[in-house]
């Protein structure tokens, strides 16, 4: 896989089918549906207790706004990812171009996905810090790899934006 900055987009080329599939999974991975711990993480309360009125108002007024914000970001990413559904041979390497103006949406969607995956798997801090864990021998290992891969993309986009 190669990643570089072009004039008005970020280009990820030489994407093998495995990494392309991980990218395709970003929108689905970002969904906290059916996982209370992930839902709690994405929609955390505005206080550490007390202020019950504020918490109730937050649920009614702020949470729907946040849901819309997160959904818009994942929809933008899902649209960009349609590039990976080309007519190329299924085992061929792919290229993905992320428009520079979609950088914020990608940062958000990647972050949502990382947080949801971490919450679903209940990863410990030491597991999350282990960036050199290999090989992938279980579903849990794959999820950790997914978090690190998405983190790598986030870092690149952040450097590019910065």
């Amino acid at each position: 896989m190669e990643i570089c900055r072009r004039k008005d987009h970020i280009e990820i080329s030489e994407l093998d089918p495995f990494l392309a599939e991980l990218l395709r999974q970003i929108p689905a991975s970002a969904s906290p549906d059916g996982v209370p711990s992930a839902e709690q993480r994405l929609f955390s309360p505005p206080t550490n207790g007390g202020e019950t009125e504020l918490r109730a108002e937050w649920k009614i007024y702020v949470e729907p706004e946040l849901r819309r914000l997160f959904q818009t970001a994942t929809e933008t990413v899902a649209t960009d990812l349609e590039q990976l559904n080309g007519n190329e041979k299924s085992l061929g390497n792919r290229t993905l171009r992320i428009p520079a103006k979609h950088a914020d949406a990608w940062l958000s969607a990647l972050n949502q996905a990382r947080l949801v995956i971490a919450a679903k798997n209940n990863f410990t801090e030491s597991e999350l810090s282990d960036h050199f864990r290999s090989p992938i021998g279980s579903r849990r290992d794959l999820s950790l790899f997914q978090i690190n891969f998405y983190g790598f993309l986030q870092e690149f986009i952040l450097r590019d934006v910065g």
Binding site: P46, L66, N111, A118, I147, Q154, L158, G162
Partner: protein, 126 residues
């Protein structure tokens, strides 16, 4: 881009009790009467009572350090060095107070931080 808001900390509602206990001697009877103290209250406006709120960001092992720094720069308009200082405080101490002031802007900051998926809370100062 938002600019750094004015810090409005330190102005807290107070009540002050002044001891004015006095003893009055009745010369005819020779008895002494104690006069109860007067409670004097300093009152502040409702706006002043609303001042001591803090925007606190809590540690999260998933969010990248560079991402958290970028969010602090974007939301508070802090320069990179200041944003990094707060990020490191969150990382090492588990939390950092990013801003303090009136409740309404504090709520808006927390909402913005949640939009970036940071663990942020609104806290009243002691």
């Amino acid at each position: 881009m938002s600019r750094e808001p004015r810090r409005d900390v330190g102005c807290r509602a107070q009540s002050k009790e002044i001891d004015r206990t006095t003893h009055v001697l009745d010369e005819e009877t020779g008895s002494v009467t104690t006069v109860e103290p007067t409670i004097e209250k300093e009152t502040r406006s409702e706006e002043d009572l609303d001042l001591p709120w803090q925007v606190v960001v809590h540690n999260d092992p998933v969010n990248l350090m560079s991402y958290v720094t970028m969010v602090f720069q974007k939301v508070f308009g802090y320069p990179r060095e200041k944003a990094e200082r707060h990020m490191l405080e969150v990382h090492h101490k588990g939390r950092s107070v990013l801003w303090a002031g009136m409740r309404e802007p504090a709520e808006l900051y927390v909402q913005q931080l949640h939009g970036y998926l940071l663990l942020a809370t609104l806290e009243k100062t002691d």
